[in-house]
């Protein structure tokens, strides 16, 4: 049950690029993807910035092979999942049991919310075909079909920690010898539903977000998808290119404090990080870099910060929130950040926490403010915490 699970491939699409190399290039040049909203039709255009994927649905259709009337979420998922699968080399191996575990918080809500404009005027109105992807599971099924994956298809939705739980579940399917290879991660397109939802909670920053800054004002939403391909040791050994890292630890821990807020002491984040460390057999001092959840809300950053202080003090690893580039991509965030974490190990790079001016007074550590190369990273921790107290942490380790 403690068999190693290797990362054989990675794929990502986000506001800073349509594939891994474009995203890495933006991360390397400190170029954020947050901007004035351009593609989503909303009254908040020009008022609330967000990090949108810089492609129209027509352009996404060309890249993904779906028709442009398909949910944007399906197309984002397809593009990142395909990049991950193609790069993994597993298609060259015969007869693998391959699955997909994908996370999303909104399914095809981009289409549902258009349907509702008509439906609200009369129950016989609205085009039913706009609801095909409303169920989250149908997003995964559409992508699985196009990729030709049949052995296992599942979908997870635990708010902002969704894709961390998808990666964890995928790894367990391999450890239990149910599958040989899994595409695991998540996807979420920007929608009016989530934009207005977060706006009613008064946690959106009207300027660019500033995670872990004393004067932070909230988060910016983003969209995208991120997947990694996890394989068993046997498959890893058969691959032409040896995987650079493995998923060595993970933990899902519930804060059980409040439906939306995190506990002030960060009990949930602490439990998730501690559990992941225990599984990987590592000590806090072994972690070289933390990809923070770091949304930029008052509540998250002080809760996550308190947990890191308790667990890591007095010696802190390098850390940063890449949401300063991509915005908070919700159900996709842990998938995108898993890709960034794996690439940090592979390339020996640490990403900056952009726009940090005044470090939080209550914390004895300061996130990285500039990009650095030639780092020897052995172990990277990635955090994802969400509504419903769902806290999950993943640890990636260099092979």
């Amino acid at each position: 049950m403690n068999a190693a699970v290797f990362v054989a491939g990675a794929g990502v699409i986000s506001g800073i690029g349509n594939n891994v190399s474009e995203c890495l290039s933006a991360l390397g040049s400190s170029t954020a993807g947050i901007d004035r909203i351009k593609y989503l039709r909303t009254n908040h255009q020009g008022l609330l910035p967000a990090s949108e994927v810089r492609l129209s649905n027509t352009e996404l259709a060309l890249l993904s092979g779906f028709s442009s009337s398909t949910s944007r979420n399906v197309m984002l998922s397809m593009i990142a999942a395909k990049e991950a699968l193609d790069g993994s080399g597993i298609n060259n191996l015969p007869a693998l049991r391959t699955g997909i575990v994908s996370a999303t918080t909104i399914g095809g809500m981009d289409k549902t919310e258009n349907f509702f404009i008509d439906f609200a005027a009369g129950r016989s109105k609205g085009r039913l075909r706009d609801l095909i992807y409303h169920e989250c599971g149908n997003v995964t099924v559409a992508v699985a079909e196009k990729l030709g994956i049949k052995h296992h298809v599942s979908t997870i939705s635990t708010a902002c920690s969704s894709s961390a739980n998808a990666i964890m579940y995928g790894a367990r399917l391999i450890k239990h010898n149910i599958l040989d290879a899994v595409i695991a991660g998540g996807t979420d397109a920007l929608t009016r539903f989530t934009l207005n939802g977060f706006n009613t909670l008064l946690i959106l920053d009207e300027q660019y977000c500033r995670p872990f800054d004393e004067n932070r004002r909230g988060l910016n939403l983003g969209e995208g998808a991120g997947y990694i391909v996890l394989v068993s040791e046997r498959v890893a050994a058969a691959l032409k290119n040896n995987p650079d890292c493995s998923l060595s630890g993970y933990c899902n821990f519930n804060d059980a404090y409040h439906q939306t807020a995190s506990s002030p002491n960060g009990d949930g984040p602490y439990g998730a990080m501690m559990g992941a460390l225990q599984m990987s057999g590592l000590q806090p001092k072994d972690i070289d870099y933390i990809n923070l959840h770091g949304t930029g809300t008052q509540n998250n950053d002080s809760s996550e910060g308190a947990a890191i202080k308790r667990l890591f003090g007095p010696y802190y690893p390098k850390m940063s929130s890449t949401k300063t580039f991509t915005g908070h991509t919700l159900g996709a965030s842990a998938g995108i950040e898993a890709v960034f974490s794996a690439m940090a190990i592979k390339e020996g790079i640490v990403y900056p926490n952009l726009r940090l001016q005044t470090p939080m007074a209550e914390l004895p550590f300061v996130p990285e403010t500039s990009f650095s190369r030639n780092q020897e990273l052995k172990h990277v921790l990635s955090n994802s915490f969400g509504f419903g107290g769902n806290c999950s942490s993943l640890i990636f380790s260099k092979n």
Binding site: N43, F119, E135, V141, F193, N199, N254, N390
Partner: protein, 351 residues
């Protein structure tokens, strides 16, 4: 894995009443609605005030299930739902359209996320354990069972698993427009009496406390759960079911009772009919969707029913007209497919 306790709120009088069968509730329309208990006796009224119907129902069943099993905090909470919290989703969408994206109340948005039920249970129990939610259409509940099976193998000793889906006025109106339900509507008790198009709308929740410890108080044992997706034809479906049996080292004749997901729609039920001729010839079988209606996680209701049938070794008269079924029920197979897309098999046996 063992089912230590089970609780369900459904369109039948199932709550705290495993032998509801003596009295089957009849519905004249084609929309079956859950029969809800008095929540004030189960959940603090201060908390229920903000909860939507599906949250209340599910939390009530979860608490009843834990109470029955005498477990204060399970070591994991796993839920499965295709639609999630539809009422809150519909409320927020409607407000957003009607108020043209002006400031709205956050309550419906906050409670619309699919993990709300698992989260509310954790919050009530102050339970920090593993907490996960599957949203994978009509096999969401089976995914949750598979997760539970893996957790038990990973030395987690108790897992609370639940399946839930609600039908709201809006979702009923929409699904009715897709032609899913019978026109004109008829009684649920006559669902299988005439060959016609369409089924009846259902909803419900069912929770199970699963454990790895044998006990004479357990209801039943879940031997295996399997799903498959879009089989090419009936031959492939048949072959996949046979390989499921082979993996369990049992023969089809070892099944004492087959519970199938017939929903009254001729095209849908044709698959069950063909399999009965091809594969399940001579195996006693019963249906369940005349009791709970059609909904994505209906197999959670079927599992609740199957487990109670095994425990009581009794098939109530309304499900067994003429009493022609076996008098000793040790092994039950639940087989369901939803629109021939997702198929699922759950094999349970007496402990």
């Amino acid at each position: 894995m063992y089912i230590r306790s089970a609780a369900s709120i459904s369109p039948q009088k199932t709550f705290n009443n495993p032998l509801f069968f003596g009295e089957v509730v009849e519905y004249a329309g084609n929309r079956l609605s859950c029969i809800e208990p008095d929540y004030n006796e189960i959940i603090d009224p201060k908390l229920t005030r903000r909860m939507s119907r599906i949250i209340k129902m599910s939390v009530a069943s979860a608490l009843a299930c834990l109470n029955e099993a005498e477990i204060a905090k399970p070591k994991a909470i796993v839920t499965g739902t295709a639609y999630g919290c539809l009422e809150d989703t519909g409320t927020f969408l409607t407000n957003m359209v009607e108020q043209d994206e002006e400031p709205l109340s956050p309550v419906a948005f906050v409670q619309s996320t699919h993990n709300t039920i698992g989260a509310q249970i954790a919050l009530l129990l102050k339970c920090n354990s593993y907490n996960n939610t599957f949203v994978n259409g009509s096999i969401s509940f089976e995914n949750a069972l598979l997760d539970a099976m893996m957790l038990l193998a990973e030395n987690v000793d108790t897992v609370l698993v639940g399946g839930m889906d609600e039908i709201t006025d809006m979702s009923y109106a929409i699904l009715n427009r897709t032609g899913l339900y019978k026109r004109p509507p008829g009684s649920n008790l006559h669902l299988f009496k005439s060959a016609s198009k369409g089924t009846i709308a259902g909803e419900g929740d069912a929770f199970f406390l699963l454990s790895d410890t044998a006990s004479k108080n357990n209801l039943a044992c879940i031997d295996a759960v399997s799903t498959f997706y879009k089989p090419a034809d009936i031959a492939e479906t048949s072959r996949l079911i046979e390989s499921f049996f082979a993996a369990q080292s049992i023969k089809i004749n070892d099944i004492d009772l087959l519970i199938t997901g017939n929903n009254g729609d001729t095209k849908n039920d044709e698959i069950y009919l063909q399999l009965k001729q091809l594969l399940f010839d001579g195996i006693p079988s019963i249906n369940y969707k005349n009791l709970c209606g059609e909904y994505p996680v209906s197999t959670s209701f079927a599992l609740w029913m199957g487990a109670n049938i095994i425990k009581s070794n009794y098939i109530p008269e309304p499900l067994n007209p003429g009493g022609g079924l076996k008098d000793k029920i040790r092994r039950v197979l639940i087989y369901n497919h939803y629109q021939n897309i997702h198929h699922s098999l759950i094999l349970i046996s007496s402990c």
